[in-house]
């Protein structure tokens, strides 16, 4: 075995035993190892020769362990760290293989070569995504377009978009020429990139969802059936006497106000003191100030007497005074099973 081969083999075995170290630290350690081993071999030669490197220095694994101990004074990396290091080198090796195999498929020596060409495109996309993210945070995230909008202004949105895209390109050119030297800067840049990438993925999924229509199907399963209240502009609440009750409120089974009709919703939103639940309670029906009451020929045909109406009080009906004989108060309202007081149809 020639001396050169012995040195190269020994150095390679030491390097293999340190494969789990971070690349930088490993390179720092191994850079001069062959030259150093050559010195040792020269010493062996000068002392009369005969001994091998392994005889003089111990097995490469022991040499590597000793080297590792000089890295810090801790006696080598922790197990987790070593495992992570090995995992990273495995992934790297696999990527390198893919890189070389997939490159020729699209006409490049390496896939990475092609991806490097796409970097400026990524800078533009990154700027756009950052602007979208800022716009989204700005306005509580209702609605989602493909352009950032601020306060509903597209012009302002376009300006912000331009600033972000130009900034991203500038940053990209700078970091491509010279990556940030401080670790803190590198970590910050990586974190921002990760946030933007995740947001971009979310944006893409949301946009795809909406374009496919599944967003609407999922959020309102009955949306294919026509909304039965779509045509409702206003609500008129009638009492048992057939009269429109002014200032009525509607509530559901939970006591929550029901806001129906164009006017209630529009005037509700524009009502004093702004949104929230408060305005719902201010909605009274009929809510449209300028809408005339509907003609209801059927209502007054046989209105029930009001439960609180006492005929003895001399108020025969809430309607216009009947032209015929007033209904005799033979059966007061306590016995509604009797013939209801026949009221002549009031003139409307």
């Amino acid at each position: 075995m020639s001396e050169q081969v012995e040195i190269a083999q020994y150095a390679a075995q030491v390097g293999a035993a340190l494969a789990d170290l971070p690349e930088q630290a490993r390179n720092d350690l191994l850079e001069d190892l062959p030259a150093h081993l050559a010195e040792v071999a020269a010493e062996i030669e000068a002392e009369g020769g005969g001994a091998t490197l392994t005889e003089r220095l111990g097995p490469p694994s022991a040499y590597a362990a000793e080297l590792r101990a000089t890295l810090g004074h801790t006696g080598g990396p922790s197990r987790t760290f070593a495992w992570a290091g090995r995992a990273v080198s495995r992934v790297r090796a696999r990527w390198s293989g893919l890189d070389r195999r997939l490159g020729p498929v699209i006409g490049y020596a390496r896939l990475g070569e092609f991806l490097a060409l796409l970097r400026p495109a990524w800078w533009v996309v990154r700027g756009w995504l950052a602007a979208m993210l800022v716009a989204q945070l700005w306005r509580d995230g209702d609605g989602l377009g493909l352009l950032p909008r601020f306060e509903g202004s597209t012009v302002l949105g376009l300006l912000v978009l331009a600033v972000f895209v130009i900034g991203s390109i500038w940053l990209g050119r700078r970091t491509a020429a010279a990556p940030p030297t401080r670790r803190r800067d590198r970590v910050a840049l990586g974190a921002v990139t990760a946030v933007v990438a995740v947001f971009g993925l979310g944006l893409w999924v949301a946009a795809d969802d909406r374009l496919m229509g599944s967003f609407w199907r999922e959020s309102s399963p009955t949306s294919w059936a026509p909304d039965p209240y779509q045509q409702v502009n206003d609500i008129f609440v009638l009492g048992p006497d057939g009269q429109i009750i002014q200032g009525a409120r509607l509530v559901d089974q939970d006591g929550s106000p029901i806001v129906l009709g164009y006017c209630a919703q529009r005037f509700g939103w524009e009502g004093p003191n702004g949104g929230g639940r408060g305005w719902e309670w201010r909605v009274v029906y009929p809510s449209c100030p300028d809408l005339t009451a509907p003609q209801l020929p059927w209502v007054a045909v046989s209105p029930e007497p009001l439960p609180w109406q006492t005929p003895a009080a001399g108020v025969p009906s809430a309607g216009p005074s009947p032209s015929g004989t007033p209904s005799p108060a033979v059966t007061p309202s306590v016995t509604p099973s009797g013939t209801p007081a026949p009221l002549p149809s009031p003139s409307r």
């Binding site: 001069d32 010195e39 020269a42 220095l57 040499y63 101990a69 000089t70 006696g75």
Partner: protein, 110 residues
């Protein structure tokens, strides 16, 4: 169990020892090892010295230059730079104080 041997003690002060033997003369790897062994650190390993040199160099305490050799390989010499000298001075002060404390602690009762 308490087990103290020279190798273990050496770990903490190897940097200082290597800086110290470079104070007066530059040296190449094997030469530095020989100086340390001659000085009494006989148990020191080749890899420890080589690794320490690489680490001190990476940390910016040493400069290197290559000296061509008529016979045998070119040799890479290591030399202290100002940062290395400062480090040697500070480390020396710490060591002397530490050693004197230890000596006091370990003094056999008369």
């Amino acid at each position: 169990m308490l087990s103290v041997d020279t190798t273990q003690l050496l770990k903490g002060v190897l940097d200082l020892a290597v800086l110290a033997v470079l104070r007066d003369d530059d040296g190449y790897g094997y030469d530095i090892l020989r100086r340390l062994r001659t000085a009494g650190l006989t148990e020191i390993g080749d890899a420890s010295v080589y690794g320490t040199l690489r680490r001190l160099f990476a940390a910016g305490y040493l400069t290197t230059y290559v000296v061509p050799s008529e016979e045998g390989p070119h040799r890479k010499y290591y030399a202290l730079n100002p940062a290395g000298r400062t480090q040697l001075k500070q480390g020396g002060d710490v060591w002397r104080e530490f050693a004197s404390t230890m000596n006091t602690l370990l003094r056999e009762p008369a």
